[in-house]
């Protein structure tokens, strides 16, 4: 279990933590944060492999991931503003009127 495999395993662990966070935490903002955690875990895994194999694509990928993540967060914030303005609450459970 050399350093690189440890780091990839760590990335996997962080990834699952992020996923569980999305499922468990009730607060909207925290849910968004957990999504970002998942993306960071992926970046970690990319970087470790890039260093191990000394290849460029992994590094390039990190930049693209962050670009995409930032756009997504921007959009998410906009939608959250609309949501909260209507329901005045950050609890995820209140937004359940689409069902069946």
């Amino acid at each position: 279990m050399d350093r690189y495999q440890f780091l990839v395993a760590l990335a996997g662990l962080i990834f699952t933590l992020g996923l569980l966070g999305v499922v468990i935490r009730r607060n909207l903002l925290v849910v968004m944060m957990c999504l970002e955690i998942m993306l960071n875990a992926v970046v970690l895994s990319f970087v470790t492999t890039a260093v191990r194999t000394q290849s460029i694509p992994g590094v390039a990928m990190t930049f693209f991931i962050y670009v995409a993540a930032s756009c997504e967060v921007a959009l998410a914030m906009a939608i959250m503003v609309i949501l909260v303005r209507r329901r005045h609450s950050l609890d995820v459970g209140t937004f359940q009127d689409l069902k069946g």
Partner: protein
């Protein structure tokens, strides 16, 4: 080389130019109709270019591991752009501001980049560019109050999907050391636990985006919360793009046994789930959502094919499915003006809107897979390749699933032709002329698919 860069990616450049122009128009508060017209022109030009390139067999490998223009890319882009064009024309009447056209154009641009990608980086960028504008489109304009909730759910699930895909890619990168698709294709069957896990994770990411059974939950809420022409966009173009992205990745290689069994279970489950739940749905958009889950199941079913018929089957299925959904939504919007969408509105529609209801009936029956209509051949191609590659029992189970599917499609046809209720006012919605032109173009292509399926099919064979 430079000319190839321009000519090869010409449709993308056209869309990009369109977006910039639309921004200028938006800044200078130009006439609202201008956005739509510009979009139609750009999309039509893009399709024309693609058609020309396709006819004289133009293929070039622009950036070795990132972007290639081969026959599949040309045909897939033509399908996507064609559906985008028809959808654009159909929603000319309802969408007011230029923002909608910008978002639509950027989303289409994302889809086109997916089709060209030979490497995972451009594929990833394409997927992001495909879905982010969709969220914006859902909430923009005079969106219904619940649209934001639907958009939010879609956003959360879609970002989870992207995270999954990226994580899969990182594992693949760990194994192969490069992010090009061809290298991935070569090693995917290497059999190591990590590469199997990587494939499964990537697949589940795409399944989440395509709303296959266990990952489907966002689709009904997202589809039913937005205006009908956006639902059409979500159900047709985005789904087709995701499916064709999968084809781009896996193209014709046979997957390993474990992955195949996973895909079989998921696709059969989603066929059954989609078709059975759709029976008891009261709203058209919800019904469309569940039927799209079922169709996702059919499309994913083709992935288990090992005789090489997968690309042609999926291309044909995705294009027929996308086209039928667009026409169906357009006809529905013609029959039921405004945004009410409960199926009760369709009762006795034949009396008031004969042509629209006949077209809606044809589209619905084509989705059910009733023979003379193109939907049947699409299903036939998939089942043919599945049975040819030896999976007979899953095919038979899928047959039973598709049998259940016929019930709710017939329910719609029943409402259209039932003479029970007194027909409501027959007023045509404002600006329906434009929608009619879109519907007309769509149905011409639909009839073409029906009468001359062979041409499209042989074209595909040369992929």
């Amino acid at each position: 080389m430079a000319t190839d860069l321009i000519y090869g990616l010409l449709p993308e450049h056209l869309l990009l130019a369109l977006i910039l122009v639309l921004m200028l128009v938006e800044i200078f508060h130009g006439d609202r109709k201008l956005g739509g017209v510009l979009f139609t022109l750009a999309a039509a030009a893009g399709c024309a270019v693609l058609a020309v390139q396709l006819s004289n067999g133009y293929t070039v490998n622009l950036v070795p591991t990132e972007i290639t223009i081969d026959r599949f890319a040309l045909i897939a882009r033509l399908v996507i752009l064609g559906c985008g064009l028809i959808l654009g024309i159909c929603s000319l009447a309802t969408s007011s501001s230029c923002k909608f056209w910008m978002l639509l154009a950027s989303s289409l641009l994302g889809a086109l980049t997916i089709m060209d990608s030979a490497g995972f980086i451009s594929l990833f960028i394409g997927i992001e560019m495909l879905s982010l504008p969709a969220f914006a489109m859902m909430v923009s304009g005079d969106g219904t109050s619940s649209a934001s909730e639907g958009a939010f759910k879609y956003l959360v699930l879609s970002s989870v999907a992207t995270a999954l895909i990226l994580f899969g890619l990182s594992l693949v990168y760990g194994v192969t050391g490069s992010l090009s698709i061809s290298v991935f294709m070569a090693t995917v069957n290497a059999g190591g636990a990590q590469s199997i896990a990587a494939t499964v994770i990537i697949l589940s990411g795409f399944f989440l985006k395509a709303a296959v059974f266990p990952f489907h939950a966002w689709a009904p809420d997202a589809y039913s919360s937005v205006r009908i022409h956006i639902t059409a966009f979500l159900a047709s173009v985005i789904k087709a793009a995701v499916v064709l992205a999968l084809v781009r990745i896996f193209s014709t290689i046979a997957l390993s046994a474990e992955v195949v069994s996973v895909i079989i279970v998921l696709s059969v489950a989603s066929i059954f789930y989609g078709n059975t739940t759709a029976i008891k749905q009261g709203a058209f958009k919800k019904l469309l959502a569940y039927s799209s889950i079922a169709h996702a199941g059919y499309m994913m079913f083709a992935l288990i094919d090992s005789t090489g018929g997968r690309t042609e089957a999926l291309l044909y299925y995705a294009s027929v499915y996308a086209l039928t959904t667009i026409i169906a939504c357009a006809c529905f919007s013609l029959i039921v003006p405004g945004d009410r969408d409960d199926l009760g509105q369709l009762d006795g529609a034949f009396a008031t809107h004969p042509v629209a209801s006949v077209l809606l009936a044809l589209c619905v029956l084509s989705m059910a897979g009733i023979p003379p209509l193109p939907g049947f051949l699409a299903k036939f191609l998939i089942f043919k390749s599945v049975i040819a590659s030896g999976h007979i029992t899953p095919a038979v189970i899928a047959f039973v699933g598709s049998y259940i599917g016929v019930i709710f499609y017939l329910g719609i046809v029943y409402r259209l032709f039932s003479t029970a209720s007194v027909p409501a006012e027959a007023g045509e919605a404002a600006g329906s002329g434009l929608v009619w032109s879109g519907v007309f173009l769509g149905s011409v292509v639909f009839i073409l698919f029906m009468l001359v399926p062979g041409v499209f099919h042989s074209l595909l064979l040369t992929v």
